[in-house]
């Protein structure tokens, strides 16, 4: 197994007329990694994928695959294979013909192609389906055929454009695991595009979060979630309670923020903002719903919030409690279901506490719209 071929984007800009789709992207994707671009629709992630696959060229900057500059080369001259969002299987070709289309293009004989198709069908756990038409397969099976078709060309880099978005929840979760397994088995670089943070976090070695053409953060999933580098990342990836305010003081990497409505609160300064976030700056502080807890009493140590219950929901694994702080500040708390009843009546007043290490202080910035 090779160690995989890396992909580098160097100062890449993509413009359509006056519209900047991708702004100065700098990404180093290690060979053999599962790398995701995560962002809301229209953020430019699909544009990046099309640039890597060769369907469009960047306006500026370079795309290197295995160290070789690919700008100006067509999709058929690059060692990449693309899996489309709608899979784009050929409806009139049988499964084996679909899978081995890249071999047919190169002029391989029928026997050779059928042998290879059998191998690949074995790998994706779909033996004996080679003579079916795509329309006779289920959603998950089509998915796997699309993967096999892409792998048949033996690409160095596999590009996936939200391929799971058409599947139902259960199958999607199953395919995540399967995709990850396939990736580890073939050992090639996967570049995955998604707006679903669950997919990005579960499968990827690294995630790049994009906002309106700009890459806000590139990091491992855990860092993206726990140590976001911008307000956008904090609000887009997972759920977060936002507290706006000004930085009151900073000591040992922790800031006290005087929030607009919830008093003074303590939070860890995000590593991306350490050194740049100064006393007096406009700031945003983020606390995840699951980081909030119910305190025994209000100890007044800058990590307590008093709030009234608005309503609560039972979600199975957890209870979601929707709260209203002073001046109508809305908050959400998630409590793990440990068997005891934790549905609170509306109007009950609670004191919340959190670990300041789990709260993140960032410079004020644009939030992800719901």
């Amino acid at each position: 197994m090779s160690s995989g071929v890396g992909v580098d984007l160097e100062n890449m800009w993509i413009k359509f007329g006056d519209f900047v789709a991708v702004r100065d992207a700098n990404v180093n994707i290690k060979g053999g990694d599962f790398f995701s671009f995560l962002g809301p629709s229209g953020c430019g992630k699909t544009t990046i994928l099309r640039a890597v696959s060769g369907f469009l060229d960047p306006s500026e900057g370079n795309i290197l695959i295995g160290g070789k500059n690919m700008v100006g080369k067509g999709p058929n001259e690059r060692p990449t294979a693309l899996i489309f969002q709608n899979l784009a299987l050929f409806p009139l070709m049988k499964v084996w013909e679909n899978i081995t289309f890249s071999m047919e293009v190169r002029g391989a004989g029928r026997a050779e192609r059928q042998k290879r198709a059998d191998e690949l069908l074995e790998m994706i756990a779909l033996p004996d389906q080679c003579d079916k038409l795509p329309s006779e397969l289920s959603g998950g099976q089509k998915q796997r055929v699309a993967i096999a078709r892409a792998l048949c060309a033996q690409p160095d880099v596999l590009l996936l454009d939200e391929p799971l978005s058409a599947l139902d929840l259960k199958l999607r979760q199953h395919m995540r695991t399967e995709l990850r397994e396939i990736q580890q088995r073939v050992g090639i670089t996967f570049i995955y595009i998604t707006h679903d943070q669950g997919e990005a976090l579960t499968m990827s070695d690294s995630v790049a979060v994009m906002r309106e053409g700009t890459i806000d953060q590139i990091a491992k999933g855990k860092s993206i979630y726990d140590d976001p580098s911008t307000a956008f990342v904090a609000s887009f990836v997972g759920e977060n309670n936002v507290f706006r305010g000004k930085v009151n003081s900073i000591t040992n990497g922790h800031a006290i923020i005087s929030t607009n409505r919830s008093g003074e609160l303590r939070a860890r300064v995000s590593s991306a903002a350490s050194g740049t976030l100064k006393v007096g700056d406009d700031s945003m502080m983020f606390i995840r719903p699951e980081a909030l807890n119910i305190a025994e009493k209000n100890s007044d140590t800058h990590n307590n919030i008093v709030a009234k219950v608005r309503h609560s929901e039972f979600e199975g694994q957890s209870y979601n409690v929707f709260l209203e702080g002073s001046e109508g500040k809305e908050m959400k708390m998630a409590l793990i279901n440990r068997g005891e009843a934790r549905l609170y009546d509306p109007g009950v007043e609670l004191v919340l506490e959190y670990d300041a290490n789990q709260a993140v202080a960032l410079p004020a910035g644009e939030l992800a719209s719901e």
Binding site: P75, N76, A81
Partner: protein, 308 residues
Amino acid sequence: MKKGILEEYFRRNGKLMGWGLLLAVGFWVVVLIILPQISMLDFSFRNHLPPPEIGGPKDTYTLANYQYLIFGAQGNEEGYNKVDLLVFVRTLVAAAFVTILDLLLCYPIAYYLGQSKGGGYVRILVLLLIIPYWINEILRAFAFRIIFGDSGVINEFMLLFGLIDSPVDFIRANIALYAGLGYAYILLMIFPIYNVIESLDRNQIEAARDMGASWTMIHRRVVIPYAKPGISSGCTMVFMLSAGALAAPQILGGPSSLWFTQLIYQWFNQGGNWTQGSAYAVVLLVTCIIIVLSVMRLFKVNMGDIGK
């Protein structure tokens, strides 16, 4: 069961509307399509008689009209009706040629129209294709005659640029006829193909390109198989209509080249021999249907696909 369907039909459309529709469709199918064809068929097997003798003892069924097409008049020394058979074959070959010409011309246009999602100017292009058809068919044929004439635009241009020394006789060479027929049915070829290609997922083309397929490969393996119903529908219509065309061959045909429909026309109108004309018409119709069905079989197209 059958009653159930009818009841359901009337329940959905109402009594008045239901009967109205049934009568209209029935009238159209029976009176305008089936009865004329049957009477044509009946005519073709009868003797050509002066009006007083119709219904008399001589009015019997006969194969004489068909015999005439194949063997010519009695006492014909050549054995076969060479002239008419030659016209018949030439008409079919020319119609096939026009069909292929139209297909070659229209496939790229239809592909372009179907795959470019750029709304505005595609609509203008379609309009530009349609507007000429507001002009009467006969006028259009005469316009072609003028364009292709000895002192027509094409000859004038070629003379002007010194491409030729003396005017080319496009009419005698039947070039004007093929061009006129081809042009007459262009839309019938473009639109069925355009309709199908429009629904082809662009990603399939890109996927094929991503896997290294050349343009010919993409068309051969992805686009054409997908567009086959549209292609066969277009080809069927163009072939049938070219083989059955009358005005264009009349106006644009060279002096020495008759179209089979012109023979039929002559039997009916100049010869006054309706029974003979009917036999010729039936032969043309049946042959065309057989050709179309065999070609469809050859390319594995189902009847149902054509309606798509």
